[in-house]
Each structure stands twice: as structure tokens, then as C-alpha cells.
Amino acid sequence: MTLVAFVLSVIIGTASLAYGYSQAGMTDPARWFILLGIVWILSHWRKVYWVSSFAFFLAILGAAYGVWNDLPTIWMLLGALGGLLGWDLSDFARRLSYAAPTDDVQGLERRHLARVSVVAALGFGLAWLSTVIQINRLAFEVAVGLVLLAALGLARLVVRLRKY
């Protein structure tokens, strides 16, 4: 289950980046992203788990570079999200490899996939909303105030939620 989800995440992530780059006529980087996906899956198959962190970093770097070059944001966002999921599932698969055959591996997988799906959906939704909703005029002082307020709110939220 985890393996299928991992492969799908990597394919979605790297294919999105490749598609986004190819749409802008940048075919060479697109090929590199496809190659990155293949290498990532192969290294996971060979249990070389450190490659996953490196590939995730490259996927984020590729998405950031694409955004900077005005490539379609949706594909770059999907690329970054796919990279994040691939990185998470690769590490989860590594942790699962320590489990004994008698352990409830399927239960662990089911719960983890459910949680990570919710997190991914929430992250993607918020990110997409942030690109859709645009405020044209916002004074710098107001922006700083909002950031501080957000940080304070987040901190309080975390503290409060952890009590329960």
C-alpha cells in the first residue's frame, strides 16, 4: 500500500514538474525531472533512502525555479506536493522495514496514509487559495502586523491543542 502510494506520489510530482516545464518549451529540464523520478523510485527499491531527501530538495528547487520563471503555478505546486509526499512515504517505508512480520503493519499504513492525505489536501488547498485570493493594496505595517498575529495565533493554537 505504502509502496503504491510512494510510486504514485513520485510520478505525480515529477510528471507535474516535467509537464509544467515542457509547456514553457523547456524540454531538457523536463527530461531531467522524469529521470529524477526514475532514479528516486529505483533508489527506494534498492533501499538507498538518503536519495529521497535529495530528490525532494531537487523537486522543491525545480518548483521554485519554475515559479520564478512564470511557469504554471498549479503544476509547480503539484510537483512540490508530490515531492513532499514521496519524501514522507519513503521514510515511512524505511520505518516499516523494522517491523516484525507479526506486527500490525497494515493498520499502521492505513492510519499513516489517511493522515498524510489529509495533510496534503489541506496544504494543497491552502496553497491554492493563497494563489487565487489576491489583495492588491496592503501597507507594509499591516502585513507585518498580520504575520505577527498569525505567528501568535499558531503558537497559541498548538499549545492549546496539545493539552487535549
Binding site: W68, L77, F92, A99, P101, D103, L108, A127, R162
Partner: protein, 426 residues
């Protein structure tokens, strides 16, 4: 690099880049990472309160016998979504079945049991703790704790039952036993003839001797049988026990000591043990089953070792053994050991040397060719000469080819004292 650090760096990198080049899309890229980090920290367990208990199916066992270890982990704290338990086995123990590592979810106030089977060679093994790595559901935070779960396993050397070991120390103790005490009295072994005393049983009258005299009767006198002090010395020196390609005679020596200890204690003697290796390990003399346990415990921990001080028997602490008592030395013997043994004998100890034969042992695994055969013959002659010298000093020697079971050798050679020792009587 930890996962939270990597993700934090990437997130801050995207945010800073977004602010620097004034591109909101870059900040949008960071949002999934922020949500991921937030979820990870939110669901990370704030307190870890795990308890563990360990139960072993046997705390004393024999080499390579199966022992089932059952470990119970109880979560007294908050719910833990992902716990990796790892019960690290002491070295030398091997896992026969089951698993020592488990990845589990542990709700609050719940328990998890796991069992596995181990086996190992002679030794004393201590279990200290179970390692628990607690992760949050997304693996962002990870904490490792050691949960105390103590346990001990003693693997004693295998015990060969010996029917009887005949020893004749010069001095015995006052309690009745099976060792001829060189004192006339009630017993089973003939000691001599003396003049009839009032109260002697008529069955004790030696009619043949009495017939030679007029008006005087003679009675047979028997030798009293008592218990004796026995000091067993186990030679654990590397120079005598270790051979090429990792072969060792030490395990055979340990087996012999265990068997002799059991036999001598069963006879009612007071037995002490000195392990002479890298350092001295002395088990005070005692009687009975408790003493057998103590000696087996000491044997379980005995390891061959080398040191400059104890390289030969010059520093053998003879004061540990009561004067004129029986000393049993279990050693493959080295040519330098002759003089210390002669000195030991000269001090009045009755010495029995049980010597696992190193020449035959080494030849058993060396390739069979002319050179090896010739070398073997030469070394064998040297050893025979050494044993002869030892015997001439009045020391009883049991040359043991370890290919033959120890009990058979003992039955053949130690079930009664040798003729020369009985004749000499000292």
C-alpha cells in the same frame, strides 16, 4: 540531518525567497511544508511514560538450550502512534525464533507483549533495557528512550555425572564421608590388625592371626572414612588453552571442572574453586548444592585470559587451600608448570592433574600429512616426558584425550586410587 530540520530549512528558504523576489507563489509552495510541519509537531507525544517487564522461561540453563524471553511494554502516558521497540540481545546470544524488534501503535494504558527464543554458549548474560524510539505520526519528531527491563540468564556448563572420584588427601576433616582418612576405626576398607579390645565385635576378630598366638586375640581394624577439603584449580591461561584458527581447550577444561565439582560435592567434600586466568577468581570452599551453584556460577563467567603476572603457576596462591588437602588442577599443562607443581607437592598437598591433551586436540583438526604427523610425534614425546616427570614427583595425572567422553576416562582411571598411591599411602 533530521527530517524536521530539512523541512524547516526548505520552508524558510521558500519563504525568504518569496519575500526577497516578492513572489507570493513561492510562499504558496511553502504552505504544504508548513502544514506538514505543523501537523507533525501538533501530534507529537508530549510525555513518554513507558514501563517494561521481562520474564525468562529459565534463568539457569545449559549451553544451546532454548530460553523464551517475554517482554511486556505498558504505556502509562499519552497515546503513541508509532513506537519502534528494540530489545538488544547481549552478544553471544543468538535468536532462535521470534523477533526482538517491533513497530507498534500503543494507545494510552495499553500493553504490548512480544516473545522470542534465544540460546547461547556458556556465560552470564544481563538484560538491561528495551530501546524505544517514539515518532509522531508523520515522523517529524523522534525521541529515543531506554525502558528498564532487567533480566539475567546464566548458562552453566553441561554437567557430566561421574560415579566416583577416588582421592586420598593426607588430611581429612572430622565429618564422616567417603575418603579414607588413614585413621583406624569404623569403615569398610581394611586398615590393620591390633590387639582385641573389650567391646570389639566378635565378627572383627581376626581368627587367622589370633591362632598364631596363645591367649591373645587380634581384631581387624578398618579405615575411617571422612570428608576432605578439595581445591580445584581451573587453568584459564591463554598460552595453554588457545590454539591456532580459534580452537580452544578451555571449554573442555570447564566441563571437566563442572563434572569433578559435582562428583566431589556429592561425596560430601568441601570444595573450592580457583580460576587462574587473566586474574584470579576464587570461590570459597563449601559443601552441598549451594556450593555447587556457586561454582557453576563462577564457571559460567570463566573466560580464558592472559596476563604477565599469571603467565605461569609461580603466583599460585597456595594459602587459599588448607594444608595437606587435595588439589585438583585442570590444565593442558605447559613445560614451565613442572616446578610449581613439584613445589605444590612438596608443600604436602595431594595433587591430581586432569590434563586435556593439547597435542591430540590440535592434531584432530590439522591436515593429515607427513610433516604434521612428525611434528605431532615429537610434541607428543615432549608431553609424555613432562607428564612422566610430574608423575615422578608423586602427582597423579589423568591425561585426557578430549575426543573421549570425560566420564568414561574418569571411570577407567579415577574410580579408585592408583596402586602406587595406595602403596605409598602418603
Amino acid at each position: 540531518m533530521s527530517r524536521s530540520l530539512l523541512l524547516g530549512l526548505i520552508t524558510y528558504g521558500l519563504l525568504l525567497a518569496g519575500v526577497a523576489i516578492k513572489r507570493g507563489e513561492l510562499i504558496a509552495l511553502a504552505i504544504p511544508c508548513v502544514v506538514y510541519l505543523f501537523a507533525g509537531f501538533l501530534f507529537s507525544p508530549d510525555e513518554i511514560n513507558l514501563e517494561a517487564t521481562r520474564h525468562l522461561s529459565a534463568e539457569r540453563t545449559s549451553p544451546n538450550a532454548d530460553v523464551v524471553v517475554t517482554v511486556t511494554i505498558t504505556n502509562r502516558g499519552a497515546r503513541l502512534d508509532e513506537v519502534l521497540l528494540d530489545d538488544v540481545l547481549p552478544s553471544d546470544l543468538t535468536l532462535r525464533s521470534g523477533h526482538t524488534r517491533h513497530l507498534i501503535r500503543l494507545p494510552k494504558d495499553s500493553s504490548f507483549n512480544f516473545a522470542y527464543t534465544i540460546a547461547g554458549p556458556r556465560g552470564g548474560y544481563g538484560f538491561e533495557s528495551v530501546r524505544a524510539e517514539v515518532n509522531d505520526p508523520l515522523g517529524i519528531t523522534s525521541r529515543t528512550v531506554q525502558i528498564e527491563a532487567k533480566g539475567q540468564l546464566f548458562i552453566f556448563p553441561s554437567l557430566t555425572r561421574l560415579r566416583h572420584v577416588a582421592i586420598r588427601p593426607r588430611r581429612t576433616r572430622v565429618y564422616a564421608g567417603t575418603i579414607p582418612a588413614r585413621v583406624g576405626g569404623t569403615g569398610t576398607e581394611f586398615f590393620g590388625v591390633r590387639e582385641y579390645h573389650q567391646g570389639d565385635s566378635p565378627r572383627a576378630i581376626n581368627w587367622r592371626v589370633s591362632a598364631h598366638q596363645q591367649d591373645v586375640l587380634y581384631s581387624n581394624e578398618f579405615q575411617q572414612e571422612r570428608v576432605a577439603d578439595v581445591g580445584i584449580i581451573l587453568d584459564g591461561r591463554l598460552r595453554t588453552n588457545e590454539f591456532a584458527r580459534g580452537h580452544s581447550l578451555f571449554e573442555f577444561s570447564v566441563q571437566a571442572v563442572a563434572a569433578l565439582t559435582d562428583a566431589l560435592l556429592t561425596q560430601g567434600n568441601r570444595v573450592g574453586l580457583l580460576v587462574y586466568a587473566a586474574f584470579l577468581r576464587w570461590t570459597l570452599p563449601g559443601y552441598g548444592k549451594i556450593q555447587r551453584e556457586k561454582i557453576l556460577f563462577s564457571l559460567a563467567h570463566a573466560r580464558p585470559g592472559g596476563s604477565e603476572v599469571f603467565a605461569d603457576f609461580q603466583h599460585l596462591p597456595t594459602r587459599l587451600f588448607p594444608s595437606e588437602s587435595q588439589i585438583v588442577l585442570v590444565s593442558p599443562l605447559h613445560e614451565d608448570d613442572l616446578m610449581p607443581l613439584v613445589y605444590l607437592r612438596a608443600q604436602g598437598y595431594q595433587v591430581l592433574v586432569v590434563s586435556p591433551n593439547p597435542v591430540k586436540f590440535e592434531l584432530s583438526y590439522l591436515p593429515k600429512n607427513k610433516n604434521v604427523e612428525l611434528a605431532g610425534r615429537m610434541i607428543h614425546m615432549e608431553r609424555a616426558l613432562l607428564l612422566q616427570k610430574v608423575q615422578r614427583a608423586g602427582i597423579q595425572v589423568l591425561d585426557w584425550d578430549v575426543a573421549e567422553p570425560f566420564d568414561r576416562v574418569v571411570k577407567r582411571k579415577l574410580s579408585r586410587p592408583p596402586a602406587w598411591l595406595r602403596a605409598v599411602g602418603r
